[in-house]
């Protein structure tokens, strides 16, 4: 069953077309890698999908319901949860409160939210820093916390923007295990990453973008072996 359908989405900033007539479908339970060189439009596309930017053209359907005009908070309530490339947490609130914000906002009562927060803190191995303000955490711990915020109430689709960037290998392993475990239970993801080994390991399917447009949408192996993808990354003709 198609969960997310992106049809002809276009976004322009003045003379620059950041996202150019992008179309693809995501089936419920898929884990799709979204790759492409810097400036290819991946983050802009995630901004549109998460309500932080509005498409100039095209249509986005979430479970067959148009959602391209919804705000980020409305999308969060419909199960679209976004993790940012530059980590966004509530820096002057402690780890538990960070998680409680999402839990309470998405309809959990205090007891449920607290139970869920403690379970996530344990799973993400943040027990030792749970009392600290988020601003006191390391970069990797903040990323883990942001994972937790996104999964306080399991979303229908999680949009992860570069979660592995500049993260300690141990943290990366925790994140990888977290994604694998959720995916095994049927969670749907779009994962933006430049870390190709991770994309190969986690994502059966990948979409490559370049200059705002989709270059190829296929199995991850096919995508990484495609000459257009290599050309997009190297900026010249592939050997």
């Amino acid at each position: 069953m198609t969960l997310l359908s992106v049809n002809g989405v276009t976004k322009r900033y003045g003379g620059l077309t950041a996202v150019d007539d992008v179309s693809f479908d995501i089936v419920a339970g898929e884990l799709v890698g979204l790759i492409g060189p810097n400036g290819s439009g991946k983050t802009t596309l995630l901004n549109i999908l998460s309500g932080l930017a509005t498409a100039d053209a095209g249509e986005i359907l979430l479970a067959d319901i148009p959602c391209q005009r919804l705000t980020p908070e409305q999308l969060a309530h419909r199960g679209v949860m976004r993790m940012f490339q530059l980590t966004r947490v509530f820096r002057r609130m402690n780890v538990i409160d960070n998680l409680l914000v999402a839990g309470r906002a998405l309809g959990l009562d205090h007891g449920e939210a607290l139970t869920r927060a403690h379970a996530l803190i344990s799973e993400l191995r943040l027990d030792a820093v749970a009392a600290l303000d988020a601003g006191q955490l390391s970069g990797g711990q903040m990323k883990l916390l942001e994972f937790g915020v996104c999964f306080m109430v399991p979303p229908r689709i999680a949009l992860l923007d570069e979660p592995f960037a500049a993260v300690h290998p141990t943290m990366k392993e925790i994140m990888g295990a977290f994604i694998r475990a959720r995916h095994a239970k049927g969670q749907t993801f779009i994962l933006v990453s430049h870390d190709m080994p991770v994309v190969v390991e986690l994502c059966p399917r990948a979409i490559c973008m370049n200059a705002g447009a989709v270059v190829i949408d296929a199995t991850t192996r096919e995508v990484l072996n495609d000459a257009r993808v290599i050309e997009a990354y190297l900026g010249g003709h592939a050997a």
Partner: protein, 322 residues
């Protein structure tokens, strides 16, 4: 990697922190309640009454700026709006003071709601400058509509048939009721949402927080509290002038919140008393109050971000460890 401080079980939730601050504020208010037993001088009772007026304003502004991160420069303006609402209703329509005060809360809250909606997308200096412009416009309107407000001459307002001591306890009762209301608000999920908006509005929206609603609510409640303070003050002083909305008044409110500790329940309330009493004391040395408070604000903002409340917490921690 950051070293662990305490295990998860020891983490103090926002609700717990708020409860600790609330209890401290109640203790402070209990001390304030006992002061008239030792201070009978009407002048100093008056100074303490005005301190409570400022404590309400600082508490209301703290809800907006300290908890929600919306740095408005109009708290004194809303007090002025509240004061003029009850003053004008009494003068032109013979509305009794109690109804006038209720109307003042409603009118200032509504104006706060409208201003909150108007500045919804503004942050930082743009928000501060817009609210400052609003404050100056409102003050100039009050000052120049002489036919209605009597301008800088001031508008006479009916007093209440009570003595200074009764006024003292009336202000204190209102302050305590507001303190309880703020506490109940902040220990609910609203407290989490307001602080989330303060820390990162985009992250709050991503987490599902209705940012428009909560920012507007913070503006409305803060303005209503200021309007209440202004209306009470008008009946206490039996006079309203545009000076109530002077930027210097806002400066005093800001310094109280910053010195006490923005984003804490007890700090701004306690600092309101310290700052205003100090202000009265400095009056004798020639109007240097704002210079002193500006210097204090710089020192606290630079070195003691949690204000007096933070210093008190650190002192208690050291005492427990000793």
């Amino acid at each position: 990697m950051t070293q662990p401080a305490t295990p998860a079980a020891g983490a103090q939730l926002t609700t717990t922190k708020t409860t600790v601050e609330f209890r401290a504020a109640l203790v402070a208010m209990a001390i304030v309640a006992l002061i008239p037993l030792g201070v009978g001088n009407p002048y100093w009772l008056g100074v303490l009454i005005v301190s409570m007026y400022f404590a309400i304003l600082a508490g209301g502004w703290n809800l907006l700026a300290g908890y929600t991160g919306q740095f408005s420069l109009a708290p004194a303006t809303f007090a002025m709006i509240g004061a003029y609402t009850t003053g004008l209703l009494g003068t032109y329509y013979n509305v009794p003071p109690l109804l006038g005060i209720v109307a003042a809360v409603v009118v200032s809250g509504l104006v706060g709601l409208l201003l909150g909606r108007a500045v919804l997308r503004l942050v930082g200096p743009y928000l501060a400058l817009t609210t400052l412009s609003f404050a100056e416009i409102m003050r100039l309107v009050a000052s120049n509509t002489i036919d209605i407000t009597r301008g800088d001459l001031g508008l006479g307002v009916a007093g209440l048939p009570i003595g200074r001591l009764a006024w003292y306890y009336l202000f204190l009762a209102v302050l305590v009721v507001l303190l309880i209301l703020f506490y109940l608000l902040l220990r609910s999920k609203a407290g989490l949402f307001l602080q989330a908006i303060r820390d990162d509005e985009v992250a709050a929206r991503r987490a599902g927080v209705d940012v428009v609603f909560w920012k507007t609510a913070a503006f409305t409640l803060s303005a209503a509290a200021s309007g209440l303070a202004g209306a009470l003050y008008a009946h206490f002083a039996e006079l309203v002038t545009p000076e109530l909305g002077l930027i210097a008044q806002t400066g005093l409110i800001l310094s109280m919140a910053v010195i006490g500790g923005m984003g804490t329940l007890a700090g701004p309330l306690v600092a309101a008393f310290l700052v205003y009493v100090l202000s009265e004391w400095l009056r004798d040395v020639g109007g240097y109050q704002l210079v002193v408070f500006a210097a204090l604000v710089v020192i606290f903002a630079r070195f003691f971000r949690e204000g007096l409340w933070g210093l008190a917490k650190a002192a208690v921690r050291r005492w427990r460890q000793a």
